[in-house]
């Protein structure tokens, strides 16, 4: 019969467009480009910041961009949107994939119609998109999070991870690298006791944190690499007896975390600038459509105020290292 091995042994279908055309670095950005941002879900504040920045950026080069998307972060609902966008005929679709593989088929159909695909925030399978704008190298995020926490608990004690949904691609990649980092000798006294899932649901993350505290009485630290998770966790800890006993860090937006940094529930946490992410994605798409780049490794393009950017391996463009917030600098940011 047809088994996995018999299929994967067959050569994988070659990416449709990339490296087919020749890149022309100094081609002008086309006027009146039509871009569409397709976030994981439209009512996720973080995604909204990113997309709005992208839409703003489009104005800079006289393009028009819009944000459409499902109200639930599921692959299937995202797909009907891809199909519709394809029907409407856009120049590029920018997507934060809920499921790297599920969106693949429709994206291929879109590319077949000459639409450029730029993944951001959460990648789609590489053969289905032209570019992936990565907020920060997944490896760096993973490892730096561990470093951050280790520094605060003196490389010692039980720690837990509060993730988003069990299937979130970016979360799982980060967690992979965290585990890898923890394997190093200097962390031999740190023990990862649990990976909990808050499903990016504020209330579930909140109660999951409660559970962790009770289940692991001598928990020293929590990493929550998701904006929803970290703020929920911070809120529970700040109101509970565990405040000051358990160290919390992760990825969060300054606005969410400000109060908890002020009340000393959280000392340090990290994030890239989501506005820059949207901005960069927007320019990358424009460059792609205008033929400045094709998505091949080594090509470069001008990303407005962010300056020149280079495409890494597998068509990945990295925004930059995550920025670490603390009491001293947090008031300088508003997002």
């Amino acid at each position: 019969g047809t088994t996995k091995s018999s299929v994967t042994s067959a050569p994988a279908p070659a990416p449709a467009s990339s490296s087919a055309a020749k890149a022309d670095p100094n081609a002008p950005i086309k006027q009146g480009l039509k871009l569409a941002f397709l976030p994981k879900a439209i009512n996720n504040p973080y995604e909204t910041i990113v997309d709005n920045a992208g839409i703003e950026a489009a104005k800079e080069y006289q393009g028009e961009a819009k944000e459409v998307g499902p109200s639930d972060a599921s692959a299937s609902s995202q797909i009907s949107y891809i199909n519709t966008l394809t029907q409407q005929g856009h120049d590029a679709i920018l997507i934060a994939a809920n499921d790297a593989n599920a969106v693949c088929g429709p994206l291929q159909q879109a590319r077949a119609k000459g639409i450029k695909i730029v993944a951001y925030d959460s990648d789609a399978a590489p053969e289905c998109r032209d570019l992936f704008i990565n907020q920060a190298s997944s490896e760096e995020v993973g490892r730096s999070q561990v470093k951050l926490l280790a520094g605060m608990i003196g490389n010692k004690g039980d720690i837990a991870i509060l993730s988003a949904t069990a299937n979130a691609t970016n979360q799982n990649t980060w967690i992979k690298f965290m585990k890898d980092e923890l394997a190093k000798p200097e962390y031999k006294d740190m023990k990862l006791v649990k990976v909990a899932y808050g499903d990016d649901d504020d209330q579930k993350s909140f109660t999951q944190t409660q559970g962790l505290m009770q289940a692991y009485p001598n928990l020293k630290g929590i990493i929550s690499p998701t904006t929803v998770g970290i703020s929920a966790a911070a809120r529970y800890i700040s109101g509970s007896k565990y405040k000051g006993k358990v160290v919390l860090t992760g990825l969060g937006t300054p606005n969410q975390m400000r109060q908890f940094v002020k009340d000393k529930t959280v000392t340090k946490f990290a994030l890239w600038n989501p506005k820059d992410l949207g901005y960069l994605a927007s320019y990358a798409a424009a460059a792609l459509v205008s033929g400045q780049i094709t998505g091949a490794e080594g090509e470069t393009f001008k990303a407005g105020k962010l300056g020149e950017r280079t495409i890494g391996k597998q068509g990945e463009v990295i925004l930059g290292p995550p920025f670490t917030f603390d009491a001293s600098n947090i008031d300088g940011f508003d997002y």
Partner: protein, 343 residues
């Protein structure tokens, strides 16, 4: 012609019958309490923290809102109706109230408005179901979508942050009197009030009459439509209040607070022994159901159950709860039948 007054043995059998009837009805609450005690017992024996002050406080806090919704829902279900829109009402109220409070509204007017919004939603459902006589399920599924849509439309990806909320509200969500947090207290008071009304007041009994047989209720001169309207109104108000408390409790909210809770609330009600076909059950049962569900949730985490198993186990326990309750009820009913017969 013989005088057919009850012969003594019949009278006695009748009396024992009554004892049994009460038992049958109590049994529902009873079996819940037993299950609850067992669950807590096991969990605590494995991990002492579960019964620590913090642990209990957490469970009470988590239960409060669900229980509040369950109380409102059971009122509707008892009249042989259903309100699927409660989840989205909570979401709408939590966000709108948060938005207004953040923009400088006073706490009291803000909360009142929240409850008012809930009431409006309930009124809408009630009017459609009772006066236009359209199936409750369709209507409330419809309003679920509509209210959710409105909520997301208003929120549009924004977020309410605790910093911008009046501290007074937040302390309501997390503060306590004599160690007992406010939220469970509020729920308790409301539950007892409604429960007592339903049991001890003629108009309260009419809710059961309607659920038991709408046609008979009409013939008995029960103001069917008005009662059903009230049921939805109350359910709406409580959902509104729940929304406000949600805000007070969690501080930061986005559009989808309590998203998908409609089924959770219904299962709490059902586990609580309120018959989905109406006419049977109590708000106490419903609240206990809510408590049980929440406790299961917390217990599984505390017992360090693999997260991938938690949902499966929750489902299994839920089924176990209703099955056991059912079997118990059947046993007692049969016992009752045999006794209540010829001596």
């Amino acid at each position: 012609m013989t005088t057919a007054t009850a012969p003594p043995e019949q009278a006695t059998s009748a009396r024992s019958a009554r004892g049994l009837v009460d038992l049958v009805f109590r049994a529902r609450e009873l079996s819940l309490v037993i299950a609850l005690v067992a669950l807590v017992g096991v969990t605590a024996s494995v991990n002492g923290n579960f019964l620590s002050g913090q642990g209990i406080e957490d469970i009470l806090l988590n239960t409060a809102i669900l229980a509040l919704l369950a109380v409102g829902q059971s009122l509707v279900v008892i009249t042989r109706n259903l309100d699927l829109s409660v989840g989205s009402v909570v979401g709408l109220v939590a966000f709108v109230t948060g938005d207004l409070l953040a923009s400088g509204w006073g706490i009291v007017p803000g909360m009142l408005l929240g409850v008012a919004i809930g009431a409006a939603c309930g009124l809408l459902n009630g009017l459609l179901v009772s006066f236009c006589r359209v199936p409750a399920l369709v209507v409330t599924l419809g309003t679920l979508y509509v209210i959710q849509g409105v909520d997301h439309y208003i929120a549009h990806g924004r977020q309410i942050n605790a910093v911008n909320l009046p501290p007074g509200l937040l302390s309501l969500g997390n503060g306590a009197v004599l160690g007992v947090p406010y939220l469970p207290l509020i729920t308790l008071v409301i539950m007892v009030a409604i429960g007592y009304y339903l049991r001890s007041y003629p108009s309260g009994r009419e809710f059961y009459a309607i659920g038991s047989s709408p046609e008979a209720a009409r013939l008995a001169g029960v103001p069917v439509r008005r009662r059903i309207l009230v049921a939805y109104l109350v359910s709406g108000c409580l959902a509104g209040l729940a929304g406000v408390l949600w805000l007070a409790r969690f501080g930061t909210v986005i559009a989808d607070s309590a998203h998908g809770w409609e089924l959770l609330v219904v299962s709490a009600v059902v586990v609580g022994g309120v018959a989905i076909t109406g006419g049977v059950g109590s708000v106490y049962g419903a609240a206990l159901g809510a408590l049980l569900l929440t406790t299961i949730g917390s217990a599984l985490v505390v017992l360090r159950v693999n997260p991938f198993w938690q949902q499966a186990i929750t489902g299994a326990l839920l089924l176990l709860a209703i099955s056991v309750d059912r079997v118990l009820a059947l046993r007692l009913a049969r016992l009752l039948r045999n006794r209540s017969r010829h001596g």
